[in-house]
């Protein structure tokens, strides 16, 4: 499907590469078209495209004249780091609030949680990001606006995951700085996830708390903490964990917006720039990477569900 989307693009990729107003002979254009395989039949081009994927060769970027795989690989760590931190923050906020909302049903906290969840899923991500910039960066000057790290920290990129690199090199100042840069984009990205996770946790906790084994636990005289945290929460987290895993792919889509707002040097921003410059091989490669990650995370979610809920078997 990715191949078809790009194949059906109007316009000649070679002419796009040459640029508007360029003075290139027809023979040169023909030679380049032959070199890139664009004069071959569609089926042959598709098979070559699929073969290239299996060899890890996604072609070359028209604009940046570099391997698409290399360009994507250089940006992936930034995107994954942002997405993972976003999930961690979301889960840390959403699960406790979801549990408390369920335990104190219809209370003020529950109502605040319900309204917050509604606002969270309705909030445009790009707008939230800009609001956070206005408040935390402009007004109170607490957090930086763009980039992954400030200049002058001397952090050596080993894995390109700056959090891990800072820990490996024991550069705690750099670690704190990287976290400061990550906070606003991660909170922005995780907004929808917080709302969704909170609702799922509340819903599944309510279902679990009405079960017979919880009634048994209460009647045995177990403490509130033991019943809720040890017995109820463990079972209530099963759908929450699967939903969080499934939404990893959705967060990757949201990454594009957040990276654009915060100037985050990740894959999302690379794709947006590739779209503006009509760099089709790069767009093609990136969409494939996103789709692959999405499918893998769906598979992981299915596996996790069978692990957490032994009654389910495929």
């Amino acid at each position: 499907m990715v191949f078809l989307i790009m194949y059906l693009t109007p316009g000649d990729p070679v002419e796009i590469m040459m640029g508007e107003g360029s003075v290139v002979s027809a023979e040169e254009i023909e030679r380049l078209r032959h070199e890139l395989g664009l004069d071959r039949p569609m089926v042959e081009q598709y098979l070559s495209f699929v073969g290239g994927i299996f060899r890890g060769n996604f072609g070359r970027s028209i604009i940046q004249r570099a391997s698409v795989m290399k360009l994507i690989g250089s940006r992936l760590p930034a995107t994954f780091e942002l997405t993972i931190l976003s999930i961690v923050i979301s889960v840390m906020i959403a699960i406790p609030i979801g549990v408390l909302s369920a335990v104190k049903k219809y209370s003020l906290l529950d109502n605040i949680g319900t309204v917050s969840a509604l606002v969270g899923v309705s909030m445009p991500t790009f707008w939230l990001g800009l609001l956070l910039i206005i408040v935390f960066s402009v007004k109170f000057k607490l957090l930086p606006v763009t980039g992954r790290i400030s200049y002058g920290h001397g952090l050596e990129p080993i894995t390109n995951f700056l959090l891990i690199d800072a820990v490996i090199t024991l550069n705690w100042a750099a670690l704190a700085d990287v976290i400061r840069h990550l906070l606003l984009p991660a909170i922005t990205l995780g907004c929808h996830m917080v709302a969704l996770t909170m609702r799922i946790t509340r819903s599944s906790m309510l279902e679990v708390l009405s079960q017979d084994y919880i009634r048994t636990a209460w009647s045995k005289g177990l403490g509130r903490k033991a019943v809720i945290l040890k017995h109820a929460l463990r079972n209530a987290l099963v759908p929450t964990v699967t939903v969080v895993t499934l939404n990893f792919g959705v967060l990757l889509g949201g990454n594009m917006i957040v990276e654009s707002v915060f100037g985050w040097p990740g894959l999302g921003r690379l794709v947006i720039n590739a779209i503006y410059t009509r760099d089709y091989p790069l767009v093609q490669g990136a969409v494939l990477v996103y789709a692959f990650t999405y499918v893998v995370m769906n598979f992981v979610a299915d596996l996790l569900y069978t692990v957490l809920n032994p009654k389910v078997r495929f």
């Binding site: 693009t9 445009p124 779209i275």
Partner: protein, 268 residues
Amino acid sequence: MILVTSFLIMAIFAPFIAPHDPNKGNLLERLKPPCWTKGGSTKHLLGTDTLGRDMLSRTIFGSRISFLIGFVVVAVTSSIGAVVGLVSGYFGGKIDAVIQRFVDMLLAFPQLILALAIMAVLGPGIKNIILALVYKGWVTSCRVVRGDVLVVREESYVEAARAMGASNWHILIKSLLPNVMASIIVVASLSIGTVILLEASLSFLGLGVQPPTPTWGGMVANGRDYIFRAWWITTFPGICILLLVMGFNLMGQGLRDTFDPKLSRQGR
């Protein structure tokens, strides 16, 4: 309902409500703040943007694009999803298998990414946004309708219709479609908010409706470079997006609770 109705009235009567032409600007009055702040005036209640255009008028007219794209996309995706879901669920077998594999293939792509890839090919514009959002948008309706049809097709009245010699299309339209209509309406109302957010996101990225047509996402993008000194350019369109999407989400939840009491009891 009140939120949605208010915005709908605003969109329909925009030419009568808006105090100024949304596309006419005065560079001498650019970046004027809202009337209640220092430097503001009652001539431009919500201030002006980078080209001196009235923010209130542009915000009012911006609602038209959101409603247009929201309603058109949802109408088309619901129709396609209903037809495909009905056929897939009723006939089953190889037809169902082929359709569902295609649906699985589409579900492998996050919607925004697929929409962006399609916009990269087609270019910006209202027609192309609608196409990009419809391309994958129908699969949710399809899955829901198919699920309902799998249950309903085993009912005795369907069997009776078949025994009386009714054609497949007659059964689909007269027996099955009315029984899945509630699900279609619920999915449609819950989807409108998502479509509006997607359209706003595409406009924010510059791939949506092009200037000078006012769109809320485009207005937020326009104000991004002036965020430090003209916060109102990004704030008011963003509030509108938030309120309208909230309105549709509340409406969708209300409809879902009405049509499926089981679901509403679980959420309480």
